[in-house]
């Protein structure tokens, strides 16, 4: 069995841990600079505020009631790391799937003990970090995702926040029959429309469909979803990333490496690929989460796993910005003395590029300009490489300019800055 552990309204929950006054109030977190809502408390959802709404489009009545905060990615990254560490107390198989979701493997555990373990996991995460989570157990990742949704929302499970689904139970069947196929993990909306033409509307319909036909009409990944729904594990984490919401690129190294140049090369490559994917879906990203880990199965070696979130100056789809953030993240993560097994990055809080407004300090780039700046980048990189890091740097935004003002609603970075710690009287 595998568990999907998902943090409830993660960014808002992080804020509430350090400021209990936010409890019970409508709270929203805004993306960097462009002011779109990227996280909502239940109270804000109840007011009808949709994900991605631009702040200036919120009705004044809602703006008055709600607490709207700038994103505090340093805090979210640190809290995310803590949650993963707590999960590591329950199983050695913890895979980060997004900043607020992890898969936890429970192979070889007594299946009857899992609900109690899920409960203990939930209570421990809550106590150690203050973050509420829901836990979904199932034989496969796709079903675990369904179980997690049920743990969060379904009246039969939400009181305990834990849901265990077996492949063939009546409960599983009932849930899958209620679930529109487009709400299934890994099924894009356009695929859903084509499935609908074939008479496949619910997750149950897809489970009962002819797997071969699905592969012929769609893809191998779609066929694997059919197998997963039937309870047969077919999907590796690297195959899947939630379309539109986030982009993850990570790979295990062929051999363990402690060499920072290997890691940097890998991350640059992953960052470039992630940026390509981002442009392909015509989105921009607000922050880059970089992660690094040793091999948890090599218990003979010292273990290390850490992540950091680097927020971007402005939402972007530019490879250079994304690669630079990845390298900056690596610089903060890398520690001497470890043999690394996996490195990767995740682009967070994507929003459609079309919605995006230019900020005061920006001007649109023409092709000619873009090419020129690319040449400039190459020259700059070369100088920095040959004459030492930081020989040539891009101008940094001054304090007090338009961009800096835009993060004035940010809460203190409670866990990563000595001068911003929680104050107690």
């Amino acid at each position: 069995m595998i568990a999907l552990v998902d943090c409830n309204n993660f960014y808002v929950s992080c804020e509430r841990v350090f400021d209990p006054m936010l409890e019970g109030r409508p709270v929203g977190v805004l993306s960097n600079n462009d002011g779109c809502v990227v996280a909502r408390s239940n109270e804000l959802k109840a007011l009808g505020v949709e994900m991605g709404t631009a702040m200036h489009l919120l009705p004044p009545a809602i703006r008055r009631q709600a607490v709207l905060l700038s994103s505090n990615y340093a805090l979210y990254g640190d809290m995310s790391q803590r949650v993963t560490e707590v999960l590591g107390e329950f199983s050695p198989h913890v895979e980060v799937y997004s900043i607020d979701e992890s898969f936890v493997g429970f192979q070889g555990f007594d299946p009857d003990s899992l609900e109690a373990r899920g409960q203990a996991m939930r209570d421990t995460v809550r106590q150690w970090t203050g973050i509420p989570v829901c836990v979904g157990f199932a034989p496969t990742r796709v079903l675990a995702k369904v179980a997690n949704q049920a743990a969060k929302k379904h009246p039969a499970y939400k009181q305990h926040g834990v849901c265990k689904l077996t492949a063939d139970s009546e409960a599983t069947k009932a849930l899958l029959k209620q679930l529109p196929v487009t709400e299934l993990w890994g099924v894009a909306r356009r695929t859903g429309e084509r499935l609908s033409v074939m008479g496949i509307d619910t997750a149950w319909d897809l489970r009962e469909a002819d797997a071969k036909r699905i592969r012929q009409r769609f893809s191998v990944v779609q066929e694997r979803i059919v197998w997963e729904l039937r309870g047969q594990s077919a999907i590796q984490l690297d195959d899947m990333s939630l379309p539109k919401k986030q982009i993850m690129v990570s790979r295990s190294f062929g051999r363990l490496t402690g060499n920072p140049h290997d890691l940097r090369e890998a991350l640059r490559h992953h960052a470039a690929r992630a940026a390509e994917k981002l442009r392909k879906q015509q989105s921009v990203t607000s922050a880059v989460m970089v992660f690094l880990r040793t091999n948890p199965f090599r218990t003979d070696l010292p273990q290390y796993q850490q992540r950091v979130v680097v927020s971007l100056e402005r939402p972007t789809d530019d490879s250079r910005d994304i690669i630079a953030s990845a390298v900056q993240g690596l610089r903060r993560l890398w520690r001497k003395g470890y043999a690394y097994h996996k490195a990767g990055l995740m682009l967070l809080d994507l929003s459609p590029k079309a919605n995006r407004q230019l900020t005061l300090t920006e001007t649109p780039q023409t092709d000619e300009e873009a090419k020129r700046s690319e040449r400039l980048m190459a020259t700059m990189d070369k100088l920095n490489r040959e004459l030492g890091k930081g020989t040539v740097q891009l101008g940094l935004p001054r304090k007090g300019n338009a961009w800096a003002l835009r993060s004035e609603r940010r809460t203190p970075r409670y866990t990563t800055q000595w001068n911003e710690l929680l104050v107690v009287k």
Partner: protein
């Protein structure tokens, strides 16, 4: 009046890096000393204070209410959320929306927050909305910082 101090070892200069082992005996030719099986490592203050990184947070103290427990304004508090808030322990607790540091005390059936400064009265928790945030395990007080 004199205080007794004993030197414990070298401080780890690279916080959160892997400490390098120091050999406990000088290198000699001949037979290896059986004592060398047990290498001393550099002393990592972070590890000494932070027993559980996932549940440990730092907070900054303000005011003089806990001066009797050597908590001065500006001191760094090490707070572990995984520990149980037993009576007698000093806790960070949110009372009516405000974060405070006090000692938990139980008198009969009632729980109080007690300051360690006679100018502050005990605060009964009955009838107040309160939630323990974590248990204070250590106080870091810098002796060079000018006192107000």
């Amino acid at each position: 009046m004199s205080s007794n101090v004993s030197l414990l070892g070298r401080a780890d200069t690279m916080a959160s890096s892997l400490p390098l082992p120091l050999y406990s005996t000088a290198v000699r030719a001949g037979f290896p000393s059986p004592a060398d099986d047990h290498l001393d490592t550099e002393l990592d203050l972070h590890r000494y204070v932070v027993k559980r990184p996932a549940s440990t947070y730092f907070a900054r103290a303000e005011g003089y209410s806990m001066i009797g427990d050597s908590i001065h304004p500006g001191d760094l508090l090490v707070v572990d959320r995984s520990l149980e808030a037993l009576p007698g322990r000093i806790v960070v607790i949110c009372v009516d929306g405000e974060m405070t540091v006090k000692r938990l005390e139980r008198v009969g059936q009632r729980t109080y927050l007690k300051a360690s400064n006679p100018n502050f009265k005990p605060i009964p928790l009955d009838g107040r909305e309160s939630q323990v945030w974590g248990v204070v395990t250590d106080v870091i007080h810098n002796l060079l910082r000018a006192l107000p």
